[in-house]
Amino acid sequence: MTEPVTTGTEVPTGTANKVFPPLDPTTLAPQLVWLTITFVALYFLLKKIAIPRIGGVIEERQNRIQRDIDAAEKLKDEVNGAMKAYEKSLADARGNATAIARSNHEKLTAETDRERAAVEAATNKKLADAEARITEMKQKALASVGEIASEIAGPVIKQLTGKDVSADEVKRALNPGAGE
């Protein structure tokens, strides 16, 4: 390696007039001129054309998303309203059903009660009639027993004693208190 080796940031020392190229003062003016031209050109190209174009798309998208979100919000409100109305009508229907059921129940109960009362009254009446008849028949039967006893008492006594006893006497003897 006969040539000087440059290994980093040091200035090459090969030729006497050679300067470190990135710091070469003779390139200052032409680079600044072209930097100014290109930078200003890029600035106006971006500012007037590219930025409005890209920014416009982004803004439009943002607006669109906002619009969609608003619409969704509105629909959600509507759905909530419909839901509420549905729930209200459901509750109303349930209330109505309960009321109808209750009134039906009451009506039926009242009817049943009335019928039962009527049937019971009729039964009771029949029962009372039957009892009255039984009592009457019993009394009649009892009364007949006395008569029968007195009727057969005369012949029985005549057979046993041979004495003729009048019916009245027998009767008095059977019913000690009745003749007085």
């Binding site: 390139t27 003016a29 032409p30 680079q31 930078f39 890029l42 590219a50 998208r61």
Partner: protein
């Protein structure tokens, strides 16, 4: 071994003079023009559909736009958006030139100190002009931080002034040095491969090592190319924010 500095030489392509100023069209100028055409053309081509649902290319353009717009909003607030075209231009210009420089054999405009210095000074002057236009003498509050005891205030103000005036220096040197160093490193490592192969024998056997290094550094340099465009733009936003809100 190839000269790693050779790639930074500005070559005069054809001479030109505007108003007595040397405006020779150089390879640097060629790549600046190419950068402008490429960045503007790419943005226009990508957004040609203007569709509501962006195509892949369109979302690239929109991401670049939103990326810089987000940077501007975060650092300066909504009122900073009037500087958006300028800051977007800085970002696109530097990013495109950095990326163009990554192509082998291409010239890296951002590795020229005059270019980065001019861009940094443009930012510096913009900050001063906007600062005084917006706040009048209130802009000088930038050098008088709140809540500093009066007896250390002169010292603090002095430091603030020095830091303010050294901004264009660090602003330009950061981009310049990063691009320069990256490209030199690439060239040096690539030179190693040729040297080792040329040496023959055992030396040739380890030639793949610098090749791997070049691969890694190339990937790193792509990152640096983007990152430095981002850093330059971010700092521009922060400096402009000082012009808008000089009170700390």
């Amino acid at each position: 071994m190839p000269d790693p500095i050779h790639q930074f030489e500005v070559k005069r392509l054809f001479p030109l003079e505007i108003f007595g100023v040397d405006a020779t069209f150089t390879n640097s100028a060629l790549f600046m023009v190419a950068g402008v055409i490429l960045s503007f053309g790419l943005l226009m081509y990508a957004s040609r559909g203007r569709s509501l649902v962006p195509s892949r290319m369109q979302s690239v353009a929109e991401s670049l736009y939103e990326f810089v717009a987000g940077m501007v909003r975060d650092s300066m607030g909504e009122q900073g958006m009037k500087f958006f075209p300028l800051i977007f231009t800085f970002f696109m210009f530097i990013l495109t030139l950095n990326m163009l420089g990554m192509i082998p054999g291409f010239f890296t405009v951002t590795s020229q100190l005059w270019v980065t210095a001019a861009l940094a000074i443009l930012v510096f002057l913009t900050v001063i002009v906007v600062g005084f236009a917006k706040n009048g003498l209130g802009f000088l509050k930038l050098f008088v931080p709140d809540g500093v005891p009066i007896y250390v205030l002169p010292l603090v103000s002095l430091i603030e002034v020095i830091s303010f005036f050294s901004r264009p220096l660090s602003h330009s040197l950061r981009l310049f040095a990063n691009m320069l160093a990256g490209h030199i490193t690439l060239k040096v490592f690539a030179g190693f491969i040729i040297m080792l192969l040329g040496a023959g024998g055992a030396a040739s056997a380890i030639a793949p090592l610098p090749l791997l290094a070049v691969l890694g550094i190339t990937a790193l340099e792509f990152l640096v190319a983007f990152l430095q465009a981002y850093v330059f733009t971010m700092l521009t936003c922060m400096y402009l924010n000082d012009a808008l809100h000089p009170g700390h």
